[in-house]
């Protein structure tokens, strides 16, 4: 009988190929989009915006990142420090660079300052002063790119 023979079908074979194609596409996309440099970005820092801020054309030779979070906490190296701790850390860093001799020059070091937009300017100046005391002289004030002009408004 025809009806019964219809019931004896083989198990349905799903075609997996398109699904796997799409899944690999997605994986590839998320892998590329993954940003490992986020490791040294502190979430407590809300950068000020500027339409002129553009990423550096070439990566800095010797970057050192100092972050200042909203409540004035300085993040340097692996953890939170205060101003005195920052000074010691910077001096140690400078000493280490000098110990490399000719291979590294302290003038090539760029200190990247990521400060929150509500942080007190005096604190930023003190951080810069601390860097200068350790003989660092190149600074990069980091800000996030904004589409609109930040000059408009009081």
């Amino acid at each position: 009988m025809r009806v019964t023979s219809g019931k004896r079908l083989d198990p349905i074979e799903l075609d997996m190929t398109p699904m796997i194609d799409m899944t690999f596409q997605l994986i590839a996309f998320f892998m590329v989009a993954l940003n490992f440099s986020e490791a040294d970005i502190d979430q407590r820092v809300n950068l000020p915006g500027s339409e002129l801020a553009k990423p550096p054309d070439v990566a800095y030779q010797e970057p050192i990142t100092i972050q200042i979070a909203k409540d004035g906490v300085i993040v340097f190296g692996m953890g939170d420090v205060n101003l005195a701790g920052l000074k010691t850390g910077l001096l140690r860093e400078a000493q280490m660079i000098r110990s490399f001799g000719d291979k590294k020059n302290i003038k090539d070091v760029t200190v990247i300052i990521r400060a929150d937009q509500t942080v007190r300017t005096g604190l930023v100046q003190e951080v810069i002063k601390a860097c200068q005391d350790a003989e660092f002289e190149n600074f990069a004030l980091r800000s996030k790119q904004s589409e609109d002009s930040v000059l408009v408004g009081g």
């Binding site: 997996m16 796997i20 899944t23 690999f24 997605l26 994986i27 998320f30 892998m31 989009a33 993954l34 940003n35 986020e38 970005i41 950068l47 000020p48 915006g49 500027s50 339409e51 002129l52 801020a53 553009k54 990423p55 550096p56 200042i68 760029t110 990247i112 400060a115 929150d116 937009q117 509500t118 942080v119 007190r120 300017t121 005096g122 604190l123 930023v124 100046q125 003190e126 810069i128 002063k129 200068q132 005391d133 003989e135 002289e137 190149n138 600074f139 990069a140 004030l141 980091r142 800000s143 996030k144 790119q145 930040v150 000059l151 408009v152 408004g153 009081g154």
Partner: protein, 161 residues
């Protein structure tokens, strides 16, 4: 013949399940680690410690002094470039236009890069205002092109709190 019999074996059935398991694991991992961050940029400042006795070698263009006064809450109360006071809604815009005039008045190309601006800000001022001021003096974007005005910016030594 036995050999021929072997070649007529069924199609090899690939086990898809473990592969798909792993692939989905990876997919979930990458989805959760994805974080969209807005691109960041830098303002470069060269500020050697010897900046204090720069006056020993006077340059042709005198250093402009940009004064940013703040109240206790860190709000900007007064914005002064030299003796010129900028106030009102668009004070940063006005400052920008003043700098633009100044740089174009100074004559031919190249003069802008010699101009130096010293930022003298109050201790309590919110840092965002400083970045706005630096944006106003360091350049502008017109027709998708970045034009730079004053590149040399430095800060006064920190004041007592």
């Amino acid at each position: 013949m036995k050999l021929r019999h072997h070649s007529r074996a069924d199609k090899i059935d690939l086990q898809m399940t473990p592969m798909i398991d792993i692939v989905f694991q990876l997919l979930i991992f990458f989805i959760f680690t994805l974080k969209i961050v807005s691109p960041e940029g830098d303002f470069n400042i060269k500020m050697p410690v010897a900046a204090a006795n720069v006056s020993a070698a006077p340059t042709e263009t005198p250093t402009l002094r940009l004064r940013l006064q703040a109240n206790d809450e860190g709000q900007l109360t007064a914005l002064k470039l030299g003796d010129t006071v900028f106030s009102g809604e668009n004070r940063f815009r006005d400052l920008h236009l003043a700098i633009r005039d100044l740089v174009s008045d100074a004559g031919g190309p190249g003069s802008a890069s010699d101009q130096e601006v010293e930022i003298d800000a109050d201790y309590d001022l919110h840092y965002g205002n400083v970045i706005r001021a630096i944006t106003a003096i360091s350049g502008y974007i017109e027709g998708g092109q970045r034009h730079s005005l004053v590149e040399k910016v430095r800060f006064t030594p920190p004041k007592a709190e």
